[in-house]
Chain length 188, copies 2
Amino acid sequence: MLDMKLLGDGLAIFSGGDEGEWRVISMRPVKGEGLPRVERVAIRHSLDSPKRNCGWSLLGVASHVRYVERGEKEELAARQENLGRVQSTRAALIPIRKSLEWWQLAQDQRREIFEAQSHHIEEGVRHLPAVARQLYHSRDLGEPFDFLTWFEYEPSYSDQFEALVQYLRTTEEWKYVDREVDIRLSRE
Amino acid sequence: MLDMKLLGDGLAIFSGGDEGEWRVISMRPVKGEGLPRVERVAIRHSLDSPKRNCGWSLLGVASHVRYVERGEKEELAARQENLGRVQSTRAALIPIRKSLEWWQLAQDQRREIFEAQSHHIEEGVRHLPAVARQLYHSRDLGEPFDFLTWFEYEPSYSDQFEALVQYLRTTEEWKYVDREVDIRLSRE
């Protein structure tokens, strides 16, 4: 066991169970093993806060950008809005794991697949500011997923958000995804 | 506290104290706050293994490459040797932290400084296979340093290794280093 100095700023813990602000609308495995069905998801940002949900817990850290280049970073910053908007009562939590093959690629090869071939950033930007989002990194924490992707939007934007998610699943990048679970939520 | 599923493959824990295979030859702060002087450093690769040293502990994870491109990766793979060579009885543990300014740069800006301006990979390759090395990432773990850099070499290579370290400290990249401790070790 560890002296828990571990994990500081930017930590997020998504806990599935019977408590939490977000009610689960749907939960399904997209690829690989799913997660046990739960009624609600609670989000904490500290390991010290009480853990009450008895289902699963997923951890991630909001880290620095890994593929985004300067011009893209400026465009994202200019167009994106923060999480927590009152009208954004729908959310998606999509944990993703990529294959060892992906992680063994060099940086330029991953960037090439990510953007030049798959247009991940370009397509994502088209949905700003309607969708607010945050990526949490989990791989270096030894977690079961490599990323926890989190999105918030208004109910009226659900179809457009669905189109984005469906598009990404058709890309070259997604051939390297070997586990994905899609959880949709509603805040009441 | 956390159910310690955290931290899996590639984990390294460097513990400074009065035990361990590596005897400390020298220890000095290069930039920012130092670390308490210890006699020995032990290296563990599991959180379950007993923790006996009573000084400091630093954690990191051997992760995927962040800047290395395909051609460089192939050259590194062809030239580098693994840790643990019997004749490599000298080592350097150099924990490094970079500034917030560095982490807020986009990927292409960091790569530009790292290699095009500072020739980090190019200079490092010149010291292969004499130096065997491993980089451990710590930033996303909430650790006091962002990286734990570890190098092993023969005593006769000490001067050339020193030249590499001194060179790196003169680079544009190193302007973003805001904490660095230099620990040299000998294995008996």
